[in-house]
């Protein structure tokens, strides 16, 4: 297996304030990496900088395209970055309302990204949308309903369908299960786990929940104050944390 994404010495500063600082990692095809840390640790800033939604203050992000060629993200123009986001990447936001179009139907939300790739045949789009609604466990009879009437968990599942329908190779997820009931959370985690395996996706997921990292990710990075303080196998980090901050995080988890 070879790297799909190479992040080197990446920093993003908000004026004088550090968002994330000097972060390096590789992501391989088919691999899910979790970024953990508490609020304000810089994990969302890092995710957004890697995903080219924020401009890096320093450092680089390289991505290996479908055709094998390496792209230096910072050198791309806006149109190429948009093409990448549309054709090869996906982004799942914490609040599904930020990732969905609320005034169009569930089916249109799923089909829209496919249409952007040039699929035009109406009945085919509808068929694919219906298939994806089923895949994320939304009753296909709701295909013409607007997502405003959906529960939070359903909206999040719809956003996942909307993101994955184009079969991206790399998906960024920012706390996709935060703010949902525990039972709803388990369902979405199971769904993500299955889809990531089935589709062979590579993914970077931000979470403050160590149990989520344990369930989904083979590798984890721990952030504090904008820096990565510990990185490695998820089970190693959770069972034998080395850094004082990681030890604090792990020992603060309530066990049932």
């Amino acid at each position: 297996m070879s790297a799909l994404l190479q992040v080197r010495h990446l920093s993003h500063h908000y004026g004088r304030r550090v968002g994330c600082e000097d972060v390096s990692f590789d992501l391989h095809a088919g691999e899910l990496l979790c970024i953990v840390g508490e609020s304000g640790s810089g994990k969302s800033t890092l995710l957004n900088t890697v995903a080219a939604q924020l401009a890096p203050t320093a450092g680089s992000v390289r991505y290996r395209q479908r055709d094998g060629a390496w792209l230096e993200i910072a050198t791309l123009n806006e149109a190429d970055r948009r093409r990448l986001a549309r054709e090869e990447w996906g982004f799942v936001t914490q609040n599904p309302r930020d990732g969905l179009r609320l005034n169009v139907s569930a089916g249109a939300n799923v089909a829209e990204r496919l249409m952007a790739l040039g699929v035009r045949h109406y009945s085919q789009l509808r068929e694919i949308a219906r298939g994806w609604l089923e895949r994320v466990e939304i009753d296909p009879a709701r295909i013409d309903d607007a997502p405003t009437g959906f529960s939070g968990g359903m909206q999040q599942r719809l956003q996942i369908a909307r993101t994955l329908v184009t079969q991206p190779r790399l998906v960024f997820m920012d706390e996709p299960t935060a703010g949902l009931d525990v039972s709803v959370q388990a369902r979405i985690l199971d769904l993500l786990r299955r889809l990531v395996n089935e589709l062979g996706l590579a993914a970077v997921m931000v979470t403050h929940d160590l149990a989520v990292a344990r369930l989904l990710a083979a590798r984890t990075m721990v952030m504090q104050g904008g820096r990565v303080v510990e990185t490695g196998l998820t089970d190693q980090i959770l069972d034998d944390p080395q850094h004082p901050y990681t030890q604090l995080l792990v020992s603060s988890v309530l066990t049932t």
């Binding site: 985690l189 786990r193 196998l233 089970d235 190693q236 069972d239 850094h243 604090l248």
Partner: protein, 233 residues
């Protein structure tokens, strides 16, 4: 004929440094050497607190060794897991090094059959064949078929343990680490596990395990490796 060396521990030490307990340091393993060959079953013996489970976890790279080396034969080359990259460790775990603990870590909502089949899928077996083999394995371990489509979260301790063993042994691996996998099994099921281990050894696997039950230990061990708790440092 000498069997191939599969695992070699050299001068292995493990301490835990607890940063939030006034920097307390727990020394669990010190200067440990061990060699494990294909076809043998070495059983770790010693009282509770002697570091047996810790040793297995260090070998599986679940714990970082503080000092020393964990050499594993992987595709006829040697990898020191104490210094390997996470991707190397994952590859060694996928193909060479299996670990069966006492407890099944339950994945919510996933049916038993899929939990057992998953390691096969990850090693490239197609889904239908993997399910059939998972079913055979569950059958051998006397997990009734009516349970196969249910998630094991609500099963009894013994049933969960058998699901865990099925999952742990379904992919033949050259090295197997077993942390009391039979603790809550009845005699009949312990005999099944002993038989499965014998088959794995006959196929060339090297086994390193913890078995508190003496009957089980006598049945599976080719050699004991005694361990003792370190004095307080």
């Amino acid at each position: 004929m000498t069997a191939a060396l599969m695992l070699e521990l050299r001068d292995l030490s493990k301490s835990f440094e607890l940063h939030h307990q006034h920097g307390a340091r727990l020394n669990v393993l010190r200067g440990l050497d061990l060699r494990l060959h294909a076809g043998e079953c070495v059983v770790l013996s010693g009282a509770s607190g002697a570091g047996k489970s810790t040793l297995l976890r260090v070998i599986y790279a679940n714990y970082h060794p503080t000092f020393g080396a964990v050499h594993v034969r992987h595709d006829d080359r040697w990898i020191d897991l104490a210094r390997a990259t996470p991707h190397e460790v994952l590859d060694v775990r996928r193909r060479t090094l299996g670990y069966v603990s006492q407890f099944l870590r339950v994945i919510p909502r996933v049916p038993t059959l899929d939990i057992v089949a998953e390691p096969l899928l990850q090693s490239g077996v197609d889904a239908a064949a993997a399910r059939v083999r998972a079913g055979d394995m569950l059958q051998r371990l006397n997990v009734p078929e009516r349970l196969w489509q249910l998630p094991p979260g609500t099963f009894s301790g013994g049933e969960q343990q058998r699901v865990n063993i099925a999952r742990g042994l379904i992919v033949p691996r050259p090295i197997l680490l077993l942390d009391e996998p039979t603790a809550s099994l009845d005699a009949g099921n312990r005999a099944v596990v002993a038989q499965l281990l014998q088959e794995a050894r006959d196929a060339g696997s090297a086994v390193l395990g913890i078995f508190h039950d003496e009957d089980m230990r006598d049945r599976v061990a080719t050699r004991l490796f005694p361990m003792q708790a370190l004095e307080a440092a």
